[in-house]
Symmetry: C2
Subunit: 520 residues, 2 copies
């Protein structure tokens, strides 16, 4: 069964999830109510939007649903071979115990309930001042008013200042800044603008494999063509221009490639791109006429020695007007990652460079339909891009908290790589940045066979078995597009506290050894 | 020029906005950079998603953009015939000075910065307790963690309890509750599920005219067919089954009608539907096999004597199992309206009734791509559905604040109707509920002619002139689908404080008299 791909096998055996769904379609759609009245449903799997059905989202897929069930079973006192479910599937830092930055939360509390501005000695003066500035920039001086659709002017100005500082003075126009509901919102909005055409003219969008499943999900929903380019595992998941060229050439046979998405630092692969590589990518995009989308939400999460974050915008502008005045770029940031980990607030921004003015008007119109992104998230984005400065009362505390979080992440990145690489049958690239390891797992033939007989991807079978036996929830790499015949990959965050992460990694090690033995 | 419709005229004169855009398309797309390098843009009006171009959103359209410009000009010291721009175009209560509910904001502050739980005498005990309960229900006890995609379990349970209380005990399953990013998010999500088919099989969705422009915008973006049914101005903007029947019959000639949207209390027309009418609508939906979407965000905003809010769900269940077990319904609520006016937090929920289980799984998957709705908004939704109870420390203050806001709104509803109806050439139905008046304006022939020569809808011309002369920003009814030959409509919120609203209404009166005289 190894002579063809696993997807083909699953298709043949008619056991894949989608075919299970298909067989369900044979059921009569009419349902009888208890008193015998029948009326067919308006909305069924058969009659719903077919593009929605195509959407897959591994990060919150069946394995996470099972993890939630197991948590419930544990809380109901049902005995398990473990006492706790550890969800290492998603970059949810605060759920893993990371503490928020004190200054940020003080300002948010003051903005939420401005009566607190009258308290003495409870809040530092800089937190109070900032809350006043944010409130002044809100309608009715309240977080409860709508903001302009593009975001609060004051916040967009602070974002622009931040980008200029970050990029060594490259100018940033606040009119190019859009505040978003997390980075996902910005990414899907730009993709939405880009999609058009039918058949061979259909918009194709290049995404890295392994990918973050938001991209495949958004493209499926929009009915765009997903163009895969593979990252190079042998070179620490780097981007390779020859591979980009191969992907775009092949894609031109059946669609119209119009955009290139890059995640840097990488999710889920943790690589940090070199300046040279970014320059090559920009040149490639210019040559192939691709709109660049740079997902840079992990811009502070760089751990490996010799690695540094370079923003696509900075490199673009350093390449001179041939590029800086022509290449279209959207870059995305968020309050959810880096040292903040404020996922729940759904704050974010995007900057658009060289976007056609008419298209920008269309973008502004499009975002206005949702009225505005959450104002508390906008306020938080402001604090992230304009944190306490030296000499201000909150500065020392802020630096201490930020450094502690980032140092711990760097330590955990090393620890993960180190422990995983001690396990025969597991190999793991250095986690240069971001919040995940993406180790390769050798899966024994017998286990692959059993998985396929169950209609599962082998790495899904591996992860499900691990979850049932250890309570550890990882995500199979196949959900991120990474599929090989006899190797699987898994995504594991490095977010748990060090002591817990050590236990977790050793449990993974023990499990892998047991699993390998069992199926040898 | 009154012998055909205004749209036809604008089409003929080639002066409409869309034709202006079209003429722009003739421009060369290549732009030269300063040093002579040319590279055509990837993304232009010609090459962008055509469905996005079709989207219109009057509430934040050109008139609001002009209002923002005027504000800027005023702040720069440029002289105007007014000293302040009053944006009466959108239901943004707190921007108009409405104060938030103290208890809500106290709990949000405590949740944002839990250190405050240690303060003595600053917060009432019930606010502290509630903050603890909400935090316990969050990952890592923090608003900064992602919630489950469907929303925090604890909040969904509180929502279910609220709905049961509101609907006199009709059961509500928390599994049917999805927390959303405002109601707009829920509405577009359900519409997204419903859209499929091509040509005559394309999904059609019935919306009221006048409508809230979110509906037309979302349908345009999804490429669904908008089916207009007209509300009856002569009967206080009531829904009329014969009109629904006409609309659906005509639509069946060219599309597949699958859903019926109702806004009750009405936006922008302020009507409150009678229980009988709702029953008729449900019967009609069952007969015509339409999925019902009930936008009930103004459920607490009922002012007129003899009017009462009836939820579609309650009526559905009172009609017995023939309906309650078969008719598919999604209903929407939000933190943005009623007495709360917390628009900026983007909180909301939807309840789905009789939705096919497989479709529900698809819905859950679809919402999971955006990870979760903003957690502060979820917390706020919890407070709205479970406010302080009698005997609790915050109860009296809560009741006082809520009553003050709702009584003031009721008074402003009456005041608006009263003053507007004293003006010859303006007629205004009673504002039974919601937050808007939608008066009919007689526009003199000369003014219509001048508008059309400028390529504007006459009501847009009227509103623009009013804005430039008085600083008052209203929205033309044509943006809400209401177009007549020699009458225009305008949308005006009733939200400004009473003294300001009185001044505003009198200014509108004076303006209308002046305008009528000028163009007679």
């Amino acid at each position: 069964f190894l002579s063809y791909t696993i997807d083909e096998y699953l298709l043949d055996t008619n056991l894949s999830l989608s075919s299970l769904t298909a067989s369900r379609r044979g059921l009569p759609q009419k349902k009888m109510s208890e008193n015998g009245i029948s009326r067919p449903k308006v909305l069924t799997l058969d009659t719903m939007n077919p593009t929605v059905k195509m959407v897959e989202y591994a990060v919150r897929g069946p394995i996470v649903q099972r993890a939630v069930e197991l948590e419930k079973e544990l809380s109901e006192g049902i005995e398990k071979p473990f006492t706790e479910v550890i969800k290492a599937n998603i970059g949810d830092a605060q759920a893993m115990g990371q503490q928020p930055i004190t200054f940020f939360r003080q300002v948010l509390a003051l903005c939420s309930y401005p009566e607190l501005l009258n308290l003495d000695n409870t809040f530092p003066e800089d937190a109070k001042n900032r809350a006043r500035l944010i409130l002044q920039s809100c309608g009715g001086s309240s977080l409860g008013a709508y903001s302009p659709s593009q975001g609060i002017d004051y916040v967009r100005q602070d974002v622009a200042n931040y980008i200029e500082r970050r990029d060594g003075g490259v100018p940033c126009d606040p009119d190019n800044i859009y505040l978003t509901t997390g980075a996902s919102d910005g990414i899907t909005t730009i993709l939405k603008l880009l999609v058009c055409g039918q058949g061979i003219d259909r918009t194709g969008v290049m995404i890295s494999i392994p990918q973050y499943p938001l991209y495949s999900a958004a493209l499926a929903e929009l009915g765009a063509v997903q163009i895969n380019y593979f990252l190079n595992e042998d070179n620490c998941w780097s981007m390779d221009i020859q591979e980009l060229q191969r992907a775009v050439n092949e894609a031109r046979q059946h669609c119209h490639p119009r955009a290139l998405c890059i995640i840097n630092p990488g999710n889920p692969t943790g690589q940090v791109q070199s300046r040279d590589c970014i320059e090559d990518v920009i040149r490639f995009a210019a040559k192939e006429r691709l709109f660049l989308m740079a997902d840079e939400v992990y811009q502070d999460n760089v751990y490996a020695e010799g690695c540094k974050f370079h923003s696509f915008k900075k490199v673009l502008f350093e390449m001179g007007p041939e590029y800086s005045e022509t290449v279209e770029l959207a870059s995305f940031h968020s309050t959810s990652k880096c040292y903040m980990g404020e996922c729940g607030f759904r704050g974010g921004y995007m900057e658009v460079i060289n976007m056609d003015d008419d298209v920008k008007s269309q973008l502004t119109k499009l975002v206005s339909v949702r009225l505005c992104s959450p104002v508390p998230g906008q306020a938080l984005m402001d604090l992230v891009v304009n944190p306490p400065q030296p000499g201000e009362p909150s500065y020392n505390c802020f630096i201490k908290e930020r450094t502690a979080t980032l140092s711990a992440l760097a330590e955990k990145a090393k620890l993960t790589e180190k422990i995983l690489n001690t396990v025969p049958g597991i190999r793991c690239n250095p986690v240069q940045g971001a919040m995940y390891s993406f180790p390769c797992i050798t899966i024994p033939d017998k286990a692959i066979k059993e998985a396929l007989e169950k209609g599962q991807q082998p790495d899904m079978f591996y992860c499900m078995t691990m979850l049932e036996e250890t309570g550890i929830c990882l995500v199979p790499g196949s959900g991120f597009g990474q599929k090989r015949i006899n190797e699987g990959f898994v995504v594991m965050t490095i977010l748990p506290p060090i002591d817990k992460l050590t236990i977790l990694l050793n449990k993974v090690k023990e499990f892998h050894q047991r699993f390998t033995k069992q199926y040898s």
